[in-house]
Amino acid sequence: MMNREPKQYSSGEVLAPPTERYTILGWLHKNLFSTWYYTLLTLVTLYILYAILKPTLIWIFTQAQWQVVVVNLRLFMVGQYPKDQLFRIWLALDLLAFTVGLAWALLLPKERRVGLVLLVIPLLLAALPFISSYSRINWILFAVIGFVGWAIGKWQPKRMRRPLIVLMLGYFPILILLISGFEPILKLVKTNYWGGLLLTMLLAVVGITLSFPLGILLALGRQSKLPIVKTFSILYIEMVRGVPLVTILFMAQLMLPLFLPPGLKIDNVLRAMAGMVLFAAAYMAENVRGGLQAIPKGQHEAAWALGLNGFQTMFYIILPQALRNVIPVIVGQFIALFKDTSLVAIVGLLDLLGIASTVLAQPEFIGRQREVYLFIALIYWVFSYAMSYASRRLEVALGVGER
């Protein structure tokens, strides 16, 4: 019964090339020991790896005292954010889960892998042994809501399109309102209570969102034929790109208060945000310009021939195409900005890195630098890597960048 009919191939059918198959030994020979110098290289590298990894692993699992991270976990995550108001952050996260779930169902119906990963991660977080039961419940809720969003999207793909767009556009203001609060319904939480990963995330999100319109304007300015506008745009972009971010933050901290009319005061966090936005706008402008330059001239000419005026050509024809092409680049910029937010620690804010110094100043945890900084590096790494991975999959799935 095992014998199957040999498959008949019609002449038009294309056969996949035969896959190469190795035995383990064959694989080892080809990839590690093909010539004498490769063999030598492999052995030397193996020894170096062993010499580095062995003490590192021993330290991580036996000598390191991770208590410092466990005790201060909340501080790392949200800083001094009031404990009784934490539900607001969870609410914002749940809304995010719902939006992402919905978006996934509508935009990427076929892509399963990443969606599954997004579901598994919160469940894994919920399974961590040292978190409070409050967080545990909330992580499970997060996963459930994400799944519900996905299911709704699957169930009513046509009808949910509009709500999804509303959610995506409205998420940023809702997030800010939720976190900062609005009297009299939600208690105001002053920005100096924001901290940890929460502040890091907010700085990056605010930076990229607000720099977007500014960046588009600057890019259009740089492309424009009007000499004054063009010069101004070029000067701004090149000056900002020519100096380090810390100097911009320095300026935002010290000079911004001077620029404001007397009586008006803004706090540290807002100043840093202003600095981040001004900084990100210059880079955003260059990214958008890349997209604009990639649009063939025929698009302009066709639009003119159809009788659209300059404004219409730009906003209905050119910009939509240009922006679609630069989505991957903008995701890359967001990741870079997310990492760059660590610089606000230099001007004294308590973001993820800034809070590390305060934790290390606790008398019972003096000398625990390695544990704390490794933990922080891990958080940064997980987020950046996850984002770049997701964006790569997204690019493939959406065919972004292909025309």
């Binding site: 990839n31 590690l32 093909s34 490769y38 290289l41 492999t42 590298t45 193996l46 790896l49 034929k225 009007l226 000499p227 004054i228 506008v229 101004f232 000056m239 790109r241 020519g242 100096v243 380090p244 971010l245 810390v246 100097t247 320095f250 300026m251 010290l254 000079m255 208060p257 001077l258 620029f259 404001l260 009319p261 007397p262 990741i335 990492k339 760059d340 660590s342 610089l343 620690a345 230099i346 890195l353 590390a356 630098q369 390695r370 900084y373 490794l374 922080i376 590096a377 940064y380 790494w381 950046s384 890597y385 770049s388």
Partner: protein
């Protein structure tokens, strides 16, 4: 017959100029408003902008200085010390990051599975962690965790490795050093002549000799001969070996590298190398396989293929992104302040704390960084032009 022209309010040229004038007015007006606010605020504090403070006595110490500096010197000199420190660390950083980046980039393309994977894991780890976190970890987690000076690890030399940094033997200029400098200059000139002649020969015959190797050898030869000659004539070598010695709680003599400097340099190098590796990989991959095959078919060996065919073509793709990596490294050196290395930003910050002159310090700082960026990109653009494909 009446000439029909479009009315001026629909004439595009007029509209463009009106738009520009309105734009200019808005920019100038808001600029003037901000400037006015600033001047009022500054006048209230009695800190009207002026750069006279640069001539005042600084009164603070700077741990590391390339030029003589003491706390009795002026703010201006302190700033110069900071600028030189920034240049020093950026310059060294660029050199080491390039070397390490090329090694990792080539590893990333290696047929050897292990090397390949190590390189890609390295790149993925480094690129997804902020440089500042890396620097702090490097400083507090590695360099400050070295043993105390009393229990310092002593490498041959003697080189002391402790949580005070590294002290190692170094050449100390003697009385004949300035004569030796002339010899070195002569060597440079000769090397340049060799370079020029060999390039000419290469162009004429079509067989490019190893230009770089020969001119380097010329320079080294002159340097060596000069060294021996001076030692024989004056009975004193241009450089004397200066060994560090343990004296009480510190080392004396030799070259001392502080943990701050080492942490900053290695952090910058390891971070930027990951990016340079990707640039190098992309560059080498951009050379099509047919080029290599054609070169081999012409009878060039592996090394010649790399030197004469792959490398010159890859370089064209590599140079522009490499420029921006170099610029990034220079700008990133400003993170030094977080681990206490006195670079430009750190010194400027101290000066601001002492004098309260935010505006002037900001302007100075930005001007210096801008000119660094400008100089680097001018140089790299020149280089890029030089190696660009000359199309017929």
């Amino acid at each position: 017959m009446k000439e029909t022209t479009i009315p001026f309010w629909r004439d595009e040229r007029v509209l463009q100029w009106i738009a520009q004038i309105i734009f200019l007015i808005v920019v100038v007006a808001s600029g003037a408003y901000l400037y006015h606010n600033m001047m009022t605020a500054l006048a209230q504090r009695g800190l009207l902008p002026s750069f006279h403070f640069l001539k005042l006595t600084a009164g603070f110490d700077i741990g590391e200085h390339l030029i003589p500096y003491s706390r009795n010197d002026t703010y201006g000199r302190a700033l110069l010390v900071g600028i030189l420190n920034t240049i020093e660390v950026s310059f060294l950083g660029i050199i080491f990051a390039t070397i390490l980046g090329i090694i990792i980039g080539v590893m990333r393309l290696s047929q050897n599975w292990l090397l390949n994977k190590i390189a890609s894991v390295y790149i993925e780890i480094i690129r997804n962690v902020p440089l500042l976190v890396l620097l702090v970890f490097w400083y507090t987690g590695v360099f400050l965790q070295f043993p105390r000076l009393k229990e310092a690890k002593i490498l041959p030399g003697p080189t002391y490795v402790s949580n005070r940094g590294v002290a190692m033997p170094w050449g100390k200029p003697t009385e004949t050093w300035h004569i030796y400098l002339y010899v070195l200059a002569l060597g440079l000139i000769l090397a340049a002549i060799v370079w020029w002649r060999l390039t000419l020969i290469g162009k004429r015959t079509g067989r490019m000799p190893l230009v770089t190797v020969w001119s380097t050898l010329t320079f080294l030869g002159v340097a060596l001969l000069g060294w021996i000659g001076i030692t024989l004539i004056y009975h004193q070598a241009p450089l004397a070996l200066d060994r560090p010695e343990l004296k009480g709680l510190r080392t004396v003599g030799g070259l001392e590298l502080t943990p701050e400097f080492l942490a900053l340099l290695s952090g910058l190098v390891f971070y930027t190398a990951a990016f340079i590796a990707e640039v190098v990989r992309a560059g080498i991959q951009s050379v099509s396989k047919g080029q290599v095959e054609a070169a081999r078919a012409l009878g060039l060996n592996g090394f010649q293929t790399l030197r004469l065919v792959v490398f010159p073509q890859a370089l064209r793709v590599i140079v522009p992104p490499m420029t921006s990596q170099y610029l990034n490294l220079t700008k990133n050196s400003s993170l030094a302040v977080f681990i206490g290395f006195p670079d430009l930003y750190s010194v400027a910050g101290t000066i601001h704390n002492q004098t309260g002159r935010a505006v002037e310090v900001t302007i100075l700082m930005m001007a210096v960084y801008l000119s660094f960026s400008l100089m680097t990109s001018v140089f790299m653009n020149w280089y890029n032009k030089k190696i660009r494909l000359v199309e017929r």
